[in-house]
């Protein structure tokens, strides 16, 4: 007699149920319940999302801030009035003051609403709150900016995320008779670049820590992805946002991007993705020649960074780590010659080793063609510099992403926009923390004119970021408006 199967294991035929029809349920799904009740087949997807969320773990671990920041220790910690603890960034009073006085709800509303007066683009948009007790509250939605603000002040979420616009109000999803009436319709195309994906080539820091040296990986990624989205796909409204600790997000807000279904999102993610293979996968870049124009352009952008960021700052092939470099070279004779050379001078720096490749090859230790060698070297440059995207985030219409301007609970830093025109100058370690900002309000010495109140954010270092965001939103709204006008005109023309 077989031992009995545990009640938790899967009864026969279940695979059929799970792979075919996850019929909608109007069950209570309040806290921490990721699976999407309404969209068929999404249950599977969401299970994975769930694992996903939690694996960006360090990102939101509420433990003490781990950012390697000089300022943090040297600067006096700002202590807003009535706030005792200096490091608890998600202290209820800090968060309350932040949502009441600093968070730019108005512009966030305009950004998502695409119009000055409320539309379903905003009203049917999903927000998900992470509450102070770590509960995760999905399917929140708000008719206006003010109601969103009210709920933030009331619940004091440590952060909140933004999901898609649904076919009906997400709060009504349980009352619908037909599950298919609740479908995600549109969402910005989003990208997530996180330092964890660079851990195998990053030598300066580990885990959740970052420094200026490794931030360069993110800078490179932003440059390459941004130009491709603009030049190749023709997108214009791309908002880059610092994720608050060790990465960056992009929101592509063009109408054409928002309306893409999953296969199209997958196509863009695939177009931009280059590195293949896990830790056991060996050489991660294997591209055909001639290089696709996108890769050729990327290589030109990245070459320079390779010299400074990789060879000098990361020094990835010191000592025995040079074996990885050898592994990536195609030529046995050359490899042997290099290995011999490096073994005899153990302290040799990565930059010297890199130039050794050519000089040793020239001195006769090359059995393959110089073209093969050049291509292998290009592949290596790409492996060490090309953007490493968390592509799953981009592939799904209904993936949620942390809102701009929320506070990172671990670092206290505000998730501010990054201006790509000056992306090289962006310093994640100089981004103000919520406590600093609140102190700046108190310390503000300017004068308010009679009857004209200056918003609190203008009194702080948050000012340039909010103004940048405002300009971005205005540009988007302008295009939306002319787009609607054009559609209307086209429509009229059709009628005649």
């Amino acid at each position: 007699m077989p031992h009995s199967v545990t009640p938790d294991s899967t009864p026969q035929g279940e695979s059929q149920a799970s792979s075919v029809t996850m019929k909608a349920e109007t069950q209570d799904i309040d806290m921490a319940d990721a699976p999407d009740p309404a969209v068929e087949e999404k249950t599977k997807v969401n299970l994975e999302d769930l694992f996903d969320d939690e694996d960006s773990d360090g990102e939101f671990a509420s433990s003490a801030p781990q950012v390697k920041s000089e300022e943090e220790s040297s600067q006096p910690q700002p202590i807003p009035k009535n706030i005792a603890s200096k490091s608890a960034y998600s202290d209820p009073e800090v968060m309350r003051a932040f949502y009441q006085r600093l968070f730019p709800f108005r512009y966030l509303f305009q950004w998502l609403n695409h119009s000055p007066s409320p539309t379903n683009d905003f009203a049917h948009r999903e927000f998900a709150f992470t509450l102070p007790n770590d509960a995760y509250l999905r399917y929140q939605s708000f008719p206006t900016a003010d109601l969103l603000r009210k709920q933030c002040i009331q619940m004091l979420p440590s952060r909140f995320e933004i999901g898609p616009v649904y076919s009906t109000n997400p709060r009504d999803r349980k009352t619908l008779r037909k599950a298919s009436a609740f479908r995600p319709l549109t969402k910005e195309l989003v990208f997530d670049i996180d330092m964890t994906d660079y851990d195998d080539i990053r030598t300066c820091c580990t885990g959740a820590s970052i420094c200026h040296k490794c931030w360069a990986f993110i800078t490179m990624a932003i440059k390459v992805v941004d130009v491709a989205l603009r030049e190749d796909f023709g997108f214009k409204h791309i908002l880059w946002v610092y994720s608050g600790r060790r990465g960056a997000h992009a929101w592509v807000c063009d109408k054409r991007a928002r309306e893409m279904d999953d296969p199209k999102r997958r196509a863009i993610a695939g177009y931009l993705e280059l590195l293949k293979g896990g830790d056991q996968g060996g050489k991660k870049v294997n591209v055909r020649r001639p290089l696709h124009p996108h890769l050729d352009r990327s290589l030109n952008i990245l070459k320079e960074h390779f010299q400074t960021t990789i060879l000098y700052e990361q020094d990835p092939w010191s000592e025995e780590k040079a074996s990885h470099l050898l592994q990536l070279l195609p030529d046995q004779t050359l490899k042997a010659a290099l290995q011999k050379k490096w073994e005899s001078s153990p302290g040799r720096a990565s930059a010297s080793k890199w130039s050794d490749i050519d000089s040793v090859a020239k001195s006769g230790s090359l059995s393959k063609s110089t073209k093969d060698l050049l291509e292998a070297k290009q592949d290596i440059v790409l492996e060490y510099t090309y953007p490493r995207l968390d592509a799953e985030v981009s592939k799904k219409l209904n993936h949620l992403l942390k809102s701009p301007f929320v506070v990172h609970p671990g670092t206290g830093r505000v998730c501010v926009p990054i201006d790509t025109r000056t992306v090289e100058e962006f310093d994640p370690l100089a981004v103000p923390t919520v406590t600093q900002l609140l102190q700046q309000i108190d310390e503000w010495k300017g004068e308010e004119e009679e009857g004209k109140k200056i918003p609190d954010w203008e009194k702080t270092e948050l000012k340039p970021y909010v103004e940048f965001f405002r300009t971005f939103v205005n540009g988007l709204l302008k295009d939306e408006k002319s787009g609607i006008k054009r559609e209307r005109e086209d429509g009229d023309a059709m009628e005649f």
Binding site: P2, H3, S4, V5, T6, D8, S9, T10, Q12, E14, S15, Q16, A17, S18, S19, V20, T21, M22, E25, Q27, A32, D33, P35, E40, E41, L47, L50, F51, D52, E54, A61, D134, S180, D197, D199, E231, D232, G234, R256, M260, K264, A267, I268, A269, G270, Y271, L275, G277, G278, D279, Q280, G281, P290, L291, H292, P293, H294, R388, A391, E392
Partner: protein
């Protein structure tokens, strides 16, 4: 479509006048459609009557073809191998000849193709998953046919589609010459014509970086025309399926159609549901515990062994790896409590607090203990099949999930196998060839056979196992079960159901 009542041939009970179109539309002329082309975009629904028998037979024949196409993709056959393999099947069940064949049955074949497509469209419109599968397989079938269609006839067909393609002019060709060549991987100087379309129309070519993109336009080489046509086919079919799904509850079909449609969609679902709970019920194996996984792991297939050793080496596994492994462990009968204990102990470097907050929920979720809906609660998710593992995206840096035969480099794979005791050079060589041909599951089965050679010979010789018991393994949990049983032959009923003390080793 309508079913003709044929008193002479159809059993009176099955007599049907299944004519919803007739009632739905004002002009129910039963006209026989003329099929000028072999290829069909299936834009117009059929209008003539057919018998219930034809209805069912035609649908089943098409289903047979689609299932075989799916099996090919499961076995990772190349497009050429698939075309070769499918030829006899298509000839038998769904022949479709070109005009130049001058065959007598040309119109008949095309009619069957047309009708069976629409019947299955109806049958498979019910759920999102069925729709996606149907669309994928119909697209594959269309592609097969498109490729071997007569060139002139194909051109005529494409011309009827009125696809709006802007031709790239000489100026632009000159301006972007080098880039156009690089994007499509052709040699310089090779003369080529190009279309310019919104990139959204060729997502597949974009995804593979096989077209040049400029401000939202894709420059598609003439020879990639197939991609455009196929993308258009898929797009129209998806839209039509969506409409069918919405109209479905309103179709006043004859009630006799429902069971047929239901049956069709069920037989479409069954084939790759390879995991059954009987895989967890193993004669003589005591209920696994957190502590017994290390010993049991020598019976695991390479995909799970690799996750296990990674977990042991790093005291951590990334999310997809965890998901894959948790479901597998559930599948071998590890209880939820034991599974939580297993992960808790394995993540040695983690605090209880962090584990409880961030990891425990997911284990419970996989078991269906939390989350989801009531239907699924108590069951959770099914352990992944080889098909699932072979078709999901490749792992990114730092991830270890998936099938090692597919994700590892050859060197790493071979050294892993050698570590696991596979040292026979012939076997390793064959595995290498399997992998090169992307026949990953064949490689895995080969390794299984090699490492259980003695036992397999024994059960074959003494006839204690049937051929079906030694079928190709297509599920990691089947691998485990079979391995365990083979290595414990002749131990009779040791440790019957929960006889804990007699747990092996």
């Amino acid at each position: 479509m309508a079913l003709r009542t044929e008193y002479s041939r159809v059993d009176p009970k099955r007599r049907a006048n299944l004519d919803y179109k007739k009632r739905q539309f004002a002009n129910p002329e039963f006209k026989q459609q003329e099929y000028a082309h072999r290829l069909n975009f299936y834009v117009l629904p059929p209008t003539a009557e057919i018998t219930l028998e034809e209805f069912e037979t035609w649908a089943i024949n098409r289903l047979k073809v689609l299932s075989e196409i799916e099996a090919c993709s499961f076995r990772n056959k190349s497009p050429e191998e698939t075309a070769e393999y499918m030829k006899s099947i298509v000839d038998k069940y769904l022949p479709l000849r070109s005009n130049s064949s001058r065959s007598q049955s040309l119109q008949d074949e095309r009619k069957r193709d047309h009708y069976s497509h629409f019947i299955l469209r109806l049958a498979f419109s019910a759920t999102e998953d069925l729709r996606r599968r149907y669309s994928r397989l119909e697209t594959a079938l269309f592609k097969l046919r498109f490729k071997d269609d007569d060139l002139l006839e194909r051109r005529d067909f494409v011309n009827t589609l009125n696809l709006e393609w802007e031709e790239v002019g000489a100026d632009e060709k000159r301006e972007f010459g080098a880039e156009l060549a690089a994007a499509s991987g052709m040699k310089k100087g090779e003369d080529q014509d190009w279309f310019k379309v919104d990139w959204e129309r060729v997502p597949e070519l974009v995804e593979q970086r096989r077209v040049l993109l400029k401000r939202g336009k894709a420059y598609v080489p003439q020879r990639e025309q197939m991609s455009l046509v196929v993308a258009e086919f898929t797009k129209r079919l998806d839209e039509a399926l969506e409409l069918t799904a919405r109209a479905r509850p309103r179709l006043d079909e004859d009630e006799r159609l429902e069971p047929i449609l239901a049956h069709l969609s069920q037989s479409f679902t069954a084939p790759d549901a390879a995991y059954s709970s009987s895989d967890a019920a193993i004669d003589g194996l005591s209920t696994p515990t957190a502590a017994s996984i290390d010993t049991l792991s020598k019976h695991f297939p390479l995909c799970m062994q690799s996750l296990h050793s990674n977990l042991r080496a790093n005291s951590h596994l990334k999310h997809f790896g965890r998901l894959q492994y948790t479901l597998f462990l559930k599948g071998i009968g590890l209880s939820l409590d034991e599974c939580i204990l297993f992960w808790r102990r394995s993540f040695k470097l983690m605090t209880d607090d962090k584990f409880n907050k961030e990891y425990k929920y997911n284990v419970r979720h996989s078991y269906g203990d939390v989350g989801g809906d009531a239907n699924r609660r108590g069951r959770g998710y099914t352990p992944y099949s080889c098909q699932k593992l072979l078709t999901e995206p490749l792992p990114g840096p730092g991830q270890q999930h998936g099938c090692p035969y597919r994700t590892f480099t050859q060197d790493n794979l071979l050294s892993l196998l050698q570590k696991g005791g596979i040292n026979d050079r012939d076997i390793l060589k064959s595995v290498k060839e399997d992998v090169q041909k992307q026949r990953y599951h064949v490689a895995c089965n080969r390794v299984f056979e090699a490492s259980h050679k003695r036992e397999i010979k024994k059960v074959k010789d003494d006839g204690s196992w049937s051929a079906a018991d030694l079928d190709t393994i297509v599920h990691p949990n089947t691998y485990f079960k079979r391995s365990w049983l083979l290595k414990h032959l002749g131990e009779g009923n040791v440790g019957i159901a929960n006889g804990g003390e007699k747990m092996e080793e």
